[in-house]
Symmetry: C2
């Protein structure tokens, strides 16, 4: 891997560039982005040079698409005519089914590997780029392939997790999209239910934790939710059913089973020993 | 206020005793508790002496009932026959309607003031008692009365919030009981939806925050939920309706309004300026 082209030098793309350098990558890192972002990334030493998408597709060993989902889908179609025979295209999109379907349609088999680095920050843009962003975090790849890019994902400190695109989308519907919607719904319900501002003083640290995600901007979430609406619908339906069950068992005080089941997931979540 | 009797010298009762001392209270603090707890509280200097419930009711200026809800209801009936003419009975129960109804039935008007100090810890028992537990926290009182006890609640650093028992129970159903049940339901749903342990690695800090409360032991929650099942049912129904609405709007990507509404509550919650 001698040349990596990063399309979209924002938080994720810029952090990947910095992480590669910190891990000892000595090849060329090119940026495909708006003139303003390119200028900023060059001035911070995050990229070495600018490329057009066609140049990147034709000459880089790896093209890393680090943009919103809709834009990644467009770029796959746009770069396809220029793709060199040994270039690997990969991405950082938060849902995988739609992106992998576009890749199957427009790119030769074996030249696309879907990815989802599960890392982020409150702030966005290349100015927030951080070479340690992926350290210790999971990086989902949609196939078990042997390629220098995968070695570099490991070298920057990420844990590779291989899941097919449909499995990935089903899992993140539960582990990421559902918690987001629950925080939003809880915020709405509490806000609508309170009758006077002073009552907010009865909100403790539990409510504060449970509504932190409600601050996430919709602009980040809209294409995630639209491109995963089937799996999110299934997850929401299961949650609503559980809440209905809890509501029915409430009066009889028969919630011990629910409490134990909920606690069990939480313990598995923070205890990697049980991940086997 | 010269003598305070604390029935149930556990985390809350013991912390109140320590907080009184640290705030300069020089009267007598008596404990009404099991022999083992009394011995431990005496050895740590948390209480000055032991009293029976009848002695406390007959001679203390304030009797503070710091036990589980069901036990507080029983104690109100048990102490009633011994109540001195100027003794104030107050409590620390997490729901207020049932307790205040029992007080109305068994105690003379004006001699009971319901309370709910909104503070806690993961650990329980007198060995966890902490004189700073109530500092900066809300202490709900079910009436606006002028009594030295209320002055001491302020002196130990609590913010008094006056709410009637029904209003209190409606509000905590939203701000405390609903977040607990949502965390539990989310833990159950995610746990039931995952197909293999490795998928848990796709769970990020959001899911970890959103399921922290799921670790709460059911033994603490059972009597809270049973004694507030009406208000909790209403809160759950409103949340389920909101989640159904979100599910319907998902495919059309029309969730901007929900995201903005959820974020608004969260900002009001952590910005006391907006509390007016």
């Amino acid at each position: 891997m001698k040349t990596v082209a990063i399309a979209g030098v924002g938080l994720i793309g810029g952090s990947f560039a910095l992480a590669l350098r910190q891990a000892g990558f000595t090849g060329v890192i090119a940026g495909v982005s708006s003139p303003r972002t390119i200028a900023e990334a060059l001035s911070h030493g995050i990229i070495d040079c600018e490329m057009t998408l066609a140049e990147a597709a034709g000459s880089a060993d790896v093209v890393f698409l680090a943009q919103p989902i809709g834009r990644i889908v467009s770029l796959i179609e746009e770069l396809a005519p220029f793709l060199g025979p040994s270039t690997l295209v990969t991405d950082a999109g938060s849902t995988k089914s739609l992106i992998c379907a576009a890749a199957s349609k427009f790119l030769p088999a074996g030249q696309f590997l879907g990815g989802h680095p599960m890392a982020g920050k409150e702030s966005r843009g290349v100015s927030s780029a951080d070479g340690g962003l992926f350290r210790g975090r999971t990086w989902v790849l949609t196939g078990a392939v042997s390629h220098p890019f995968v070695d570099w994902v490991r070298k920057i400190g990420s844990h590779v997790l291989v899941m097919g695109p449909e499995e990935h989308d089903r899992v993140v519907a539960l582990t990421s999209h559902l918690p987001q919607l629950v925080a939003t719904a809880l915020g709405c319900t509490v806000g609508a239910g309170l009758e006077r501002d002073e009552q907010l003083r009865a909100g403790g640290p539990g409510l504060i934790d449970m509504t932190r995600l409600a601050l996430s901007p919709y602009d980040i979430w809209s294409d995630i939710l639209v491109t995963n609406s089937g799996a999110v619908d299934t997850a929401l339906t299961a949650l609503i059913e559980r809440l209905e069950g809890i509501r029915m068992r409430l009066r009889d005080g028969e919630l011990r089973g629910d409490f134990e089941e909920g606690a069990r997931l939480r313990r598995r979540l923070v205890n990697p020993v049980e991940l086997g």
